[in-house]
Symmetry: none
Subunit: 216 residues, 4 copies
DNA sequence: AATGAATGAGTCTTCATTCAT
DNA sequence: GATGAATGAAGACTCATTCAT
């Protein structure tokens, strides 16, 4: 995690030299192994040799696909989040009602992370391990997710279903922060309940508020 | 969560032998140095010798006060958060109106972290660096903060000002998650705006919801 | 010691199976690439894959022609020095006057290394990198060069043009050492002067000595 | 031996922080151990852990005294050569006759390296391992030795005992190269003869030349 | 014969921790 | 109690060599 080593573009969803299907397969195996090992030990305590072993390759092979240990985490997160972002965009496009759009996003968010505990751990804990990492990722991909949410919010405001007196940025922060905290809370609990099942409740709070609505 | 606010709180582990004031002073200096160094470099890249230097003590002296590097981080967080928790409890006690109580908590949350950037970094990123740390902290201290929030929520429900159809746990998650995300977002931004100034807006979303209220 | 001069000489180890001209060609290309890469990076920092790339062959192909990285350096030096030795013997044979023979050897020595900087670097620095290499080379090939010089010296002594009170071994050492140092010195300088141009001056010192000759 | 790692000043004859006599002692022990291990294995094949073991310290201790493996070699050579250079200057100052001065320098040169085989190996082989090393060392210390020789030569020319038609630079190269080659040759031989014993013979060649002096 | 992806042994360096002073 | 020199375990990364294709 030298400052030097984080300069490069973290998003390399494809192997350096495309090569055969075998190559792409090995790339994926390493990525998946990395997520597992990192989830179990944390990034700094994860040994490259453990990732190699889990992926079923030799230590040196890792470096045919990734420049450094840092790059593995970057790639794993970029890879997974890129897929999530595509899904999120599809969901939003498939419907037009802003409230329903937020509901779908919440469900996708909780489903995606609720179905892959290791990935959830990496997202909720490792991603934030350093301000540097977070800042980089934030600027590249997380920002796009926030922008998507903010667009939905602004659309809702324009349609007249959402309040105009709220900053779309703050609403997006509340929406994302609430979901994020649900995931963290779920991870730290016994996880004996369904995370996606909480989507409606969260959206209910964000949309409807906590206060009792008086029919004044 | 200023350094001033840490004078006395039950969650702060005291030095092995209470000893003189000098001892307590050195203990504090190490803790403050740790927060600075960790905020600057991240926990894993922070060297114990750097913390010692910043605190103005020898490397070995650190180990007269703390068992390990891990323990320093734990103690620093416990120490600061304990002080915060004391303040939070005072605020809640000082008034009775649940909506105002939430408002005060939000303001305290954002003020505490907004006034000490290093501490904010440690909370938002380093604390979460590993599931291990987070789990420990979560069970011991964060839970008490959540419980405080949940009590306020339930009180509001009992008073009839908050909706009964919401889980206090989920509301607490949304409340905390929203504030938490505001802090993270602020850290990653240029920080050219006042974090406490956003407290009302966040509470407004959580209390009033995003949807336009009809039948007014 | 130009690449031209290496066509045929007995000291060049030939490929395992003589095979086609293509094979011999590839062998030569690897050798030349090795000298270039080693001159640029030093033997230990020269990677076999770099040599392969420079030679336009695959990494593995190197090992069809050479047993190990060490062997490449040995072969490259043997190859080049063998060619030089052939030339040196021809020069000596072509004339009979000992002083002129030494003069021709000096000129050949400085011309050969002065016209191929990479080879000069390999000779002056890489060959001596380890006592192991130097000892091997010294016993096999350099000794023949020294023997040639010593023969000339002894011939001169027998003819009466050279002093009898000097050990031919020490004279050979001085002759070779002087030339050798001229090359090293030239390599480390800006190389803005002609190395062969210094041949006469060196021979002048060795033959005539530094002292002013009285009784003239 | 990265290009980066050779930028720093190679001459650090004293420990980073002076400290006690013990510290200086350990510094010397490491330096001596380094010369031994490097002489036996060559610089690239010498392991830092071997140097540590030979010096009777832990691996990590090496790095309290030297920045890198490279720096150890640099320091060892600088250290030894610096001492030699001081002696050489003393010798030259102690007398005034140029021929005698050269004779003393030759004797010192061969005695110094002839009495410490390991140091001789490091000088004759490791020092030249890379043009980079050689260039650096050459510019800083070896140049001073050459300058000393050249001054003696010029003094001799001014006094009228040495020929005026010779470049002092070339004479110095011949003088040094001859001695240097004597050492190399001695190292590669069985070393069953005395190296200093050859000093007079070498000086005899350089001063008197190989040609028979005719009383024309 | 040629390839080049894969291997895995090898090592420099860091730094948390200890302990003699 | 305080020091800081010393320790030594640990691990990311390189690259000569192999071998299935």
């Amino acid at each position: 995690m030298d400052s030097e080593s984080t300069k490069e573009n973290p998003a390399t969803p494809t192997p350096a030299s495309p090569g055969s299907e075998k190559r792409a397969d090995k790339y994926q195996r390493i990525l998946e192994a990395a997520v597992e090992v990192i989830a179990e030990n944390g990034f700094f305590n994860a040994r490259v040799s453990d990732i190699a072993q889990r992926a079923g390759v030799a230590d040196g092979t890792i470096y045919l696909y990734f420049k450094s240990k840092d790059q593995i985490l970057m790639a794993a997160i970029s890879n997974a989040f890129g897929a999530f972002l595509d899904l999120a965009r599809s969901e939003v496009k498939s419907i037009t009602e802003p409230r329903e759009q937020l509901r779908r996003l919440a469900l996708l968010h909780l489903t995606s992370l609720g179905s892959n505990r290791n990935l959830a751990i990496v997202f909720q804990t490792e991603l934030r391990q350093s301000a540097r990492f977070l800042a980089q990722f934030s600027q590249h991909q997380l920002k796009q997710y926030f922008d998507l949410i903010r667009e939905v919010v602004r659309a809702g405001q324009n349609t007249g279903v959402f309040r105009h007196d709220l900053s779309d940025k703050i609403v997006a922060n509340c929406f994302f922060g609430s979901l994020d905290e649900m995931v963290t809370s779920w991870l730290l609990s016994e996880r004996d309940y369904s995370l996606p099942g909480a989507a409606d409740a969260v959206v209910d709070v964000i949309l409807g508020g906590v206060e009792v609505r008086r029919h004044s």
